[in-house]
């Protein structure tokens, strides 16, 4: 089954993106990516721009309300997503623990919901 690792990063981890190589956090990510690809579990994923670039849209009584910033103001912000093909939640938790963001933020593990998707995509 497929699991999404939702990568939450602290401001410090986001800031690492601006650092010159070799940056240990970026280096750790490069190695982690190689490990998930070589283990044959990587399905897909992407990184998100920094939270300051986020714009949130809500429609209240037909009125468009646009808010500068992410949906929720929290210390750690969504930074990216990795989708992995794995046999069990335990395997997903192992990979989440190895993720560099686990020690500089948090990694939320969620199974993908193919049934919910199917109802939409048909």
């Amino acid at each position: 089954m497929q699991f999404a690792l939702l990568i939450y990063e602290s401001p410090k981890a986001f800031a690492a993106r601006k650092n010159d190589d070799p940056d240990p956090y970026i280096g750790a990510w490069r190695a982690y990516y190689k490990a998930i690809v070589d283990a044959g579990v990587y399905v897909g994923g992407d990184a998100l721009e920094v939270p300051e670039t986020a714009t949130t849209v809500r429609l209240t009584n037909g009125t468009r309300r646009v808010q500068d910033g992410p949906c929720a103001e929290t210390k750690e912000q969504l930074a990216g997503i990795c989708v992995l093909e794995l046999s069990s939640l335990d395997a997903a938790l192992d990979w989440a623990a190895r993720c560099p963001a686990a020690s500089l933020g948090a990694v939320e593990v969620r199974p993908l919901a193919p049934d919910a998707k199917h109802r939409i995509t048909g």
Partner: protein, 411 residues
């Protein structure tokens, strides 16, 4: 009864709970095989102690008091539930006179039977260690869940399921007979060692999960040795864990920096702990029955020689690994053997030994990649080394190990 301060009383309860939990639980569950109910009534009895002892003083025989009280709760429950089967079980267990026996005298220690129940082949091997930690040491499900990286609810459910199975499947509360004993004892030793392994990597500082579990595992091994003092592999296991434990503080430098075994300062190792480890290993060897844990302990004993100013005898370590690989060719052993061969013979020979391990089995095994990276770097194959370093870095959970490897990786 001797009345003391509240603080003393609390400490007394904690001490009895800590030292006697497994003994009490084993006694309560041995006849009914109902581990879950035994836990409940023992929990109730400990709560009762918290209210009664500060008022009346700590009883002369705290264990006896707890077991008698727990049995009262047992009987109360049976009455309330009016379940004939449970009642029969209680009666056959001789619980109709709860007052005297336990209060008056020592009761038999049935923790050994409990250890064998926890590791019975009918129980999912993945649950052996969690069950042991809960029933023998009284650790709660949340704490165990943390160590095993699952949610408390999941671990709680798994434990409940296993305990239901113990009762429903009729798993016997007994020490296996001689013909079965070696295999069954292996399962007990494995489960204890698994707890140690989790605690060992956790005390290195990854995070809170499993911290202190290494100590709990050593405690379990001591319990086992109390009950089976002449079992060489149990002695070997305790020796192995003590050798590792002796190096605890030396594994981290300033700023939580990771220090590999080869770079540790032996003056920071605990000599007293090493001595105890050596004593157990020496005693184990007098039985003339070498096994996996004695060999593992022997390897650690060679490393510990540095505490007495000796150079590491790599050829000896390679020989022990060779024998170990014949007994149980696990990935850990095969990787360790390759590392020893590299030091004892040559880096090329070590790499050749690594290459004999099937590639697909090591795709997520971090130590293999760390050893491989190290050997390739020593052989001057920077490009291949960088790839292996990436795998080792990508597979570690420990930020300190990650930083250490990133530092060593050739650019």
């Amino acid at each position: 009864m001797n009345a003391g301060s509240d603080e003393d009383t609390h400490r007394a309860i904690e001490r009895v709970a800590r030292e006697s939990y497994g003994r009490l639980l084993a006694r309560l569950a041995s006849h009914t095989r109902d581990v879950a109910s035994a836990e409940d009534v023992l929990g109730d009895a400990l709560v009762a102690a918290l209210t009664t002892w500060p008022r009346d003083g700590v009883p002369r025989n705290p264990e006896g008091w707890l077991i008698t009280t727990a049995r009262h709760f047992f009987i109360d429950r049976a009455r309330h539930e009016l379940v004939a089967r449970a009642h029969d079980a209680l009666l056959s267990a001789g619980l109709s006179t709860p007052n005297d026996e336990a209060m008056a005298s020592e009761f038999p220690d049935e923790r050994l039977e409990l250890l064998f129940v926890c590791t019975h082949p009918a129980i999912d091997p993945a649950m052996h260690t969690p069950l042991m930690l809960q029933t023998v040491l009284g650790l709660d499900a949340a704490r165990i869940a943390q160590a095993f990286l699952v949610s408390p609810a999941t671990m709680g459910q798994r434990l409940v399921r296993v305990k239901t199975k113990i009762r429903a499947a009729g798993i016997p509360f007994e020490v296996p007979n001689v013909s079965e004993l070696p295999g069954r004892l292996d399962a007990v030793l494995e489960a204890i060692y698994a707890a140690f392994g989790i605690g060992w990597s956790a005390t290195a500082g990854i995070d809170e999960r499993g911290r202190g579990l290494a100590e709990e595992a050593i405690w379990l091994a001591r319990v086992l040795l109390d009950l089976m003092p002449d079992e060489p592999e149990a002695l070997g296991l305790l020796s192995l864990m003590l050798h590792c434990e002796a190096r605890g503080p030396a594994r981290r430098g300033p700023g939580e920096r990771y220090i590999p075994l080869s770079e540790q300062d032996p003056r920071r190792w605990s000599l007293g702990t090493i001595e105890e480890a050596e004593r157990h290993l020496a005693r184990a060897s007098t039985f003339g029955r070498t096994g996996r844990f004695q060999l593992e302990a022997a390897i650690q004993s060679v490393h510990s020689g540095r505490a007495h100013g000796q150079e590491t005898d790599w050829p000896a370590i390679a020989v022990f690994y060779e024998r170990l690989a014949r007994l149980s060719p696990t990935m850990r052993t095969l990787t360790g053997r390759a590392a020893a061969v590299a030091e004892a013979a040559s880096h090329t020979a070590g790499l050749a030994a690594l290459d004999t391990i099937p590639h697909e089995s090591v795709s997520t095994y971090q130590p293999y990649w760390a050893v491989r990276a190290h050997l390739l770097q020593r052989l001057g194959r920077s490009g291949d080394a960088a790839d292996a370093f990436d795998r080792a870095i990508g597979l570690t959970e420990d930020p300190a190990v990650r930083a250490f490897l990133l530092d060593k990786r050739p650019d």
